[in-house]
Structures are given as structure tokens and as C-alpha cells.
Symmetry: C2
Subunit: 388 residues, 2 copies
DNA sequence: CGTAATAATTTCCTTCGTCAAGTATTGATT
DNA sequence: AATCAATACTTGACGAAGGAAATTATTACG
């Protein structure tokens, strides 16, 4: 059972929030190093940490062996008590709900999914209730220590109010998802755009940790981009941000559904890859898996499709790097399941177009298990606990 | 004579900084409305404002007439005392120094310029000393109330240290400009990248006031972009940010010096416009002014050059809008002296490529007197006084 | 003139974080 | 072993910042 204040937020001082966030994201840290890092006195850290330890959110680790030449009392690092609380995250797509339970360290403890036959709001909420029940009342026994649920939805989402203004795949308009989901599940709900959720997760718990700015590029049927600048997620004033799918990279390229030609998405999106692979092979029933298999087996024409796609992605990434100058960039997404076919070409495209020192921006290119989308949603709910 | 603490920064509390910034940027405001706007108690505003009034930075305006039906004590709005302090700003280009004196409201009070024959650091500093002397010891008598100098330089500048890492036109490498300029002028110096300085000025004193995020696109020999996101300027981790000049908008377009084809800059930069106008007219000695005159007179081939350029700019702007979603966008720069020839086409290009609701982003398109660059530099030095 | 309404100020109080002093724990030196 | 220097952490007094609520100021309206 959890015992803190009613709404559940850790009602702490700014210093306590900073301390908890730092320990959460940057692993075990001694009080003194926290003080240095956060620009606080060590006394302030001691005071801020005490209630967090008492509430069981932080624990003191055994002293580590000394480093450096001098003597001195060894530090007793503060670490997150991972099992103190669990968080549910659910990614809602047009045909499936994917859910996970994570602990305070954002490690996935359980996962489940449910197919959706009807993307209507009511049907989705019913399924959501079942999914959350499955996750929390199953073997792990997570229910008693779980209070929060994060939902990730593609489209225009207002995180502050939990309103889904518009979600294209679900065809939802102005759905007050936070309230609805809270009714169904009894949990405190956070709703966030899927790409932003994933970006947040990566910023707090992944490769974006410590970066003042970074970008997450997702490759799938669409090409998206989440941005963190000056330590904060970029939201876009008109509900639009991170749209890199329709940057033009090849005016002679294929037509895009947006009306233009040679958009990144029209070359490198999963459907575009499949279409081009079918053309190249002459087999109209070719699947993505087939295309990957053929390319890996050395089919040059299909290899060229991936090469061209990778390069288009790289050019899009370069545009991001040139414009906002992130400290690092992560490229991920279902479309990168075949990342071995893409990687080199992404780098080629990036290096071709990146301006000046922007080429030095580290690129991480790796596939993304679909479950990570749900983890992103759950990570947002951790964030809402810590920094509401 | 100015009398505050040694270094000159207004050493205030966070609340005082917020109050002063709000009055500075959002015009006269009563204490109560400031309190509401800033989320403070009115008592806090009273306390924060008092020393600022005593120091002469703020003044209390006469009560304005009541609004609304009810009665009540009229508000006495706080306004900036524009003449309390003056600021010098200098834009350093490869062949000229442009300087201005502005008051606390960022209104230009004096301006001057000096040609540069030698872009070497020492020569520039000597000229800078003369320019500042001309500005401060001239008719306005600004010297006694001037302590700060802002410098705007193109290229990679570290504002925090005042180091010019690299400036392409000046061919400067790692010049500790802040220290050097402080020696020469005896003023407290701030150094900033020119586009960022202009963006900052627009954010605090221009059309960007009140916007949580906005973008300033400069059109000149290059195409640049300054960004404010979540209320803060975007700096770029590797010294690169706002580079939109090399987004590809037409793969069949002219070659660009960057090695690619059809970059915005290769189509719409001033040199590109001139080159294309020469081609279109067959006159190899055509100047920019000639091209503008011919286009305005109805020359269709040259008009098409501007049309194409404007559209390219619009496409680049759309990329910015899609990626960061600014609340508004200002398009400006010397290249827009002929903005009547560009404007419609910029909007066309923007609307063609802007994604979803991003088309609703308000675009301001207007020319930019060159002196504004210097004003931007001076505005940064105001900012360094208020929020160091 | 009172009275309601709004603005600004004052007083008192809480809270947060710093400072400086003290405690704890280690390795090195005698 | 005893001491010392170095580092980590804790404690308690203090100060500064901002809030709450009462007080004063100034208006419009009856």
C-alpha cells in the first residue's frame, strides 16, 4: 500500500524534486556529488533526501571503495528503490493495445497486449480496463503498489489536460481520455503523444540521459521526431512538432500522400519500402520480411531500396541537427528492425547534409521493440509523479 | 552616474527578475496584473518593484481610467524608465562595424558605423574603440549612463564566455572577444551570435513578445534561423543551430557551395538571386537593385526568379514550423528589402509544405534595416543586465 | 456620505536553503 | 596504536523570499 498525499504527487521542494530526478536518471549518486551537480549545499541534499528515504523511494547503498589517492569518509550513494512503486503504460494503436508494468527504474516487469476490433473510444476503454487488470492482478502482484497509468496515443494530445484533440489512426476528436481512463482503471492517468512519450523515456532513462538537448527519430510507417531542447520536451504551439516525414529530399522521388514529391516518408517509410521493393522485384505480394530477407541475401535491387531509404532518413536527420543542434540523436522505430540494412546509409545521408560541426553529433541507430512505446507511456507517468 | 553593485548586474531575487522582465517586454503593467501573470502574490510584486523604482529602473505611471463596470482603486502601472541606462550594440561584419545606442526600452537613440579595411582582431578592436567613443561622447551625452556593450558576430560564439570560436567572414578562431573589447571600451561586454542576438531582441522587444516559442528567419546572402523554444533561445550543442539554408527544396535546382543541389540558400540567397537574374536577363553586370527594379517593372523572367526564391524560403520555413512548431514566425533580413516581390511566394511555399495545423502559424514578413543587427546586440546586453 | 470594488501596502509567518560548526569514517604517517 | 589529513555527511542557527491576511488607498455608484 502506498501512503502519500491524496493526489499522489510527491509533494516536495524544488530541491527534493531535483535530487530525486537526478538519482532517478543518473543512477546512484552520493549526496555531495548531487550537491555539486545541482548547485546546492550538501546540507540541502541531506534534508531533501531524508523524506524520500523515509517514504521508501530512495535507499542508501553500501559505501563503495574509495577512488583517488586521498583518504576520507566513503560516500554512501543514494539509489532509487525500484520496487517502491510500479507504473502501467499503454500504447494505443488502431488495432492493438500494448501494455507494460515498469518499476521506478523504468525496467519492464510485465507486458501484455490486446487486439482491438473497434477503435471507438468506448470499446478501447473497455479493453484498456481488461488489459490493466491483466497486468496488475497477474503473477507479479503489482496492484497494491501501482497508482499511475500512462497512455501513449499518436496525434495531437494535450498532456496538461489529458485531452486527445485529434488522433488520425483512431479517428478520435476531443476525447477527454484522462478522465475516461481514470474512471475505468481507478488510476491517476497521464496522456501523452506517443513520440513525445518515447522521447521522454529516452531522455530520462535511455541514451538521452544527461543531454541538454537531444532528438529521437522514429522510423516506421511514418517518420517522426521527438525533441528535447534546453532540457525540456518540445511541444509545438499548434499541436505540430517533430514532423520530419515530409521534408523533401529528392524532388524526383516518389509522390507522397501529402501532395509533394520525394518526402522522407515517401522513400523510407515502411509502406514506401515495401512498395519500392515490390517494384524492384516484380513480385506484387512481397512483404517487408521478404524484402529484408532478399536484401540480406544480397539482392542488389532491393538492397538499393534500403540504401535509398536510409539515405533519405539521414538527410532528414541532418535537417534536425542543422536546425536545433541536439547533443545526440537516437534513431529507432519498428522500421529499423532491419537496421543492419539501413545504418550505413543513414550515416552517409547524415554526413552529406550535416552542416559544419553538426556532423560530430553522435548518432545511435538501433531497432525498437514495439513494447518500448508502452514503456514510454509508463515513463511519462513516472515523470508526472516526480515533476507534475 | 550609475551606482549599483560592482559588476553591474541588477542583483535581484527571482521575483524581481521576473517582474522587471515582464515590465520590460510587456509594457506598463499594474502590480496586480503582474502578480497574476507571474503567479506571485501582489505583496511579492510590491516588494520586488520597490528597489527597482528606487534605483530608477522602473517608474509608476499615472493611474489610467477604469475599465469594466465596477469601482475600485485605479491601478498605477509600472513602466520602464527608458533613460535610466543606455546600451551600446555593435554588429561586426567583414567590412563594417555598425553601432547603435539604445535605451532601456530598446529604442534606438543613436547610430554610427565605420568601414573596416582589415578584419584582423586588432584592427577591429581599434575601430570598435573609436566607434563606441563616437556613439557615447557625441551629442546625446550617453557616456555617463552607459555601462554595457553587446557585440554581434556571425559564426560560432560562446555567449557564456564571450569567446568567438569561429567566425567565417572574419576568419577569426578562438578570439576572447569579451575580454579584448572590455579592455578597449571599459564597458561590460556580452558577445553573441548575430542571428541569436536578433532573435533575442525580437523575443523581448519585437513581434516575439509573449510567445513561448518563435522563429526568426533571416534572408540575406545566407538564410538563417533563430529559434526560441519553451521561452529560451536554442543554442545548438555543437555550435550549430538554425541552419536552414541547406535544406534541399529542389533537387533539380542550382548547385550549392555546400556540395548539394537546390538548397534554399542556393535559390533564395542574395547572391543566388543576382546570379539567376543575370542568367534570366542575359546581362552579366546586373545588380540586386537592377533586378528588383526590373521585377517591379514587370519583367516576368526576373519576377520568376523572385517567385522561385520566395517559394524556396517558404518551404524552408515550413520545415521549421513542422519540426519545432513555433507560435509565430518572423521573416526578415536585408534580402527582404524587396519583400513585396517575395511575400506572396513565401506564403505559397509555406502553405504548401506546412503540416496540418502548422499552416495556422502566423507569418510576419518584413524588411530589416541593417542597423537592427546592432540593436539586437544591444538588446542582448540589456538581457545580460536583467538575467545574467 | 456610505458602500462595494479594486489596488497597493504592511505585518507577520512559514519555508527553504545556506553557513558554519560538528560528527563520521577512511587511508596515510608517525 | 595514535594521530592527522581528507572527505562525507549532519545538525542547528540564521536569513531571505514569498505568502496570507489584515489594513490602507482610491475610485464609482447609489
Amino acid at each position: 500500500m502506498l501512503t502519500e498525499s491524496g493526489t499522489g504527487a510527491l509533494t516536495e521542494t524544488p530541491a527534493a524534486t531535483a535530487v530525486f530526478t537526478a538519482v532517478l536518471t543518473e543512477g546512484p549518486l552520493s549526496r555531495v556529488s548531487l550537491a555539486r551537480r545541482l548547485g546546492l549545499s550538501s546540507a540541502a541534499v541531506t534534508k531533501a533526501a531524508r523524506p524520500l528515504i523515509e517514504m521508501g523511494y530512495l535507499q542508501e547503498l553500501a559505501a563503495t571503495e574509495r577512488t583517488g589517492p586521498g583518504a576520507g569518509r566513503p560516500a554512501s550513494p543514494l539509489a532509487v528503490q525500484a520496487d517502491r512503486e510500479y507504473f502501467v503504460g499503454v500504447k494505443i494503436t488502431g488495432d492493438e493495445l500494448i501494455g507494460v508494468v515498469i518499476d521506478l527504474c523504468a525496467d519492464v516487469r510485465a507486458s501484455a497486449h490486446r487486439p482491438l476490433t473497434d477503435p471507438g473510444v468506448d470499446a478501447v476503454l473497455t479493453e484498456l480496463g481488461h488489459l490493466v487488470g491483466d497486468l496488475l492482478d497477474g503473477p507479479g502482484g503489482y496492484r497494491p503498489r501501482t497508482r499511475r497509468l500512462g497512455l501513449a496515443v499518436s496525434g495531437d494530445v494535450d498532456r496538461a489536460t489529458g485531452l486527445v484533440r485529434y488522433s488520425p489512426f483512431l479517428q478520435w476528436h476531443n476525447v477527454p481520455l484522462r478522465e475516461r481512463a481514470a474512471e475505468v482503471t481507478g488510476l491517476t492517468v497521464t496522456v501523452e503523444n506517443d513520440v513525445k512519450a518515447l522521447t521522454t523515456a529516452e531522455h530520462w532513462f535511455g541514451e538521452g540521459v544527461g543531454a541538454e538537448s537531444f532528438a529521437l527519430v522514429t522510423v516506421g510507417s511514418g517518420i517522426g521526431c521527438g525533441l528535447v531542447v534546453n532540457g525540456r520536451i518540445v511541444s509545438g504551439s499548434h499541436g505540430v512538432a517533430g514532423e520530419i516525414g515530409h521534408i523533401g529530399v529528392d524532388a524526383t522521388g516518389p509522390e507522397c500522400h501529402c501532395g509533394s514529391r520525394g518526402c522522407v516518408e515517401a522513400i523510407a517509410g515502411t509502406p514506401a519500402i515495401v512498395r519500392q521493393a515490390r517494384q524492384a522485384s516484380g513480385r506484387s505480394d512481397l512483404t517487408m520480411d521478404d524484402a529484408v530477407a532478399l536484401a540480406r541475401a544480397g539482392d542488389e535491387r532491393i538492397g538499393a531500396v534500403f540504401a535509398r531509404g536510409g539515405e533519405a532518413i539521414g538527410l532528414g536527420i541532418a535537417a534536425v541537427a542543422n536546425l536545433v543542434g541536439p547533443a545526440r540523436i537516437v534513431v529507432s522505430g519498428e522500421g529499423l528492425a532491419a537496421y543492419d540494412l539501413f545504418e550505413r546509409h543513414i550515416r552517409t545521408g547524415f554526413e552529406r547534409q550535416a552542416f559544419g560541426a553538426a556532423v560530430e553529433c553522435p548518432l545511435s541507430i538501433r531497432p525498437l521493440p514495439f513494447e518500448q512505446w508502452a514503456r514510454g507511456a509508463a515513463a511519462v507517468s513516472i515523470q508526472s509523479l516526480v515533476a507534475p
